[in-house]
Symmetry: C2
Subunit: 105 residues, 2 copies
Amino acid sequence: MDKKTERGYEVRAGIFKALAHPSRLFIVERLAAGEWCVGELAEMIGADVSTVSRHLAVLKNAGILRADKRGLQVYYRLHLPCILRFFDCVGEVMARNAEDHRKLE
Amino acid sequence: MDKKTERGYEVRAGIFKALAHPSRLFIVERLAAGEWCVGELAEMIGADVSTVSRHLAVLKNAGILRADKRGLQVYYRLHLPCILRFFDCVGEVMARNAEDHRKLE
DNA sequence: CGAATAGTTGCATAATTGGCCAAATAGGGA
DNA sequence: TCCCTATTTGGCCAATTATGCAACTATTCG
């Protein structure tokens, strides 16, 4: 596998990695409906503001969110709505896994 | 956020986590075309057989792959082809990110 | 049975991630 | 300017993940 191909897998894995955390998944889902600022999200999640700020940075670096500073607050919004299609698919995966599990009983 | 909802986010994040590694992404893509055994995949990837075996276990535990032992070899195959739709979306994400990046120059 | 082969698992180690607290930064208003 | 508030960043620690080697297991073949 040449360097360029390898790099491609790394970049793509990075997008999945950005989504591979419960809080970040929650954030993306919330932001699907509209924008929220850091403090509001932190309260919804129940984690420290600094922790949530880092989660948001991870999603922003992956190109999934955009930040918009207005006054003291930084409002985040979903930059790639196609991400939401992932979620439908994840739902299917879970349903199928659950069914497989049921069959084993 | 109640326990049940929280658990839901954890399970979904687990699926993304299983895909959040270059080698595992490579494996899924390879298996889209047909089954391969551990040693063959290890050679393609250029990692130790034990390492690849563990990557395969991660994907299997996530319900993404199925293993089929025939003789000495264990053949793995894609159990959830809908996963491939993720990949199309990831392609879109990358294209969009690349374009955003271009605009900044 | 014994040797050879394919894969998995135990272990040690290095690297990454996630979390909070505290300090630094940036903006708004008196 | 000085203070207050919102967010980000540095530091540190605990937990998790990735990796290879070596040992173990399972299966085939002589």
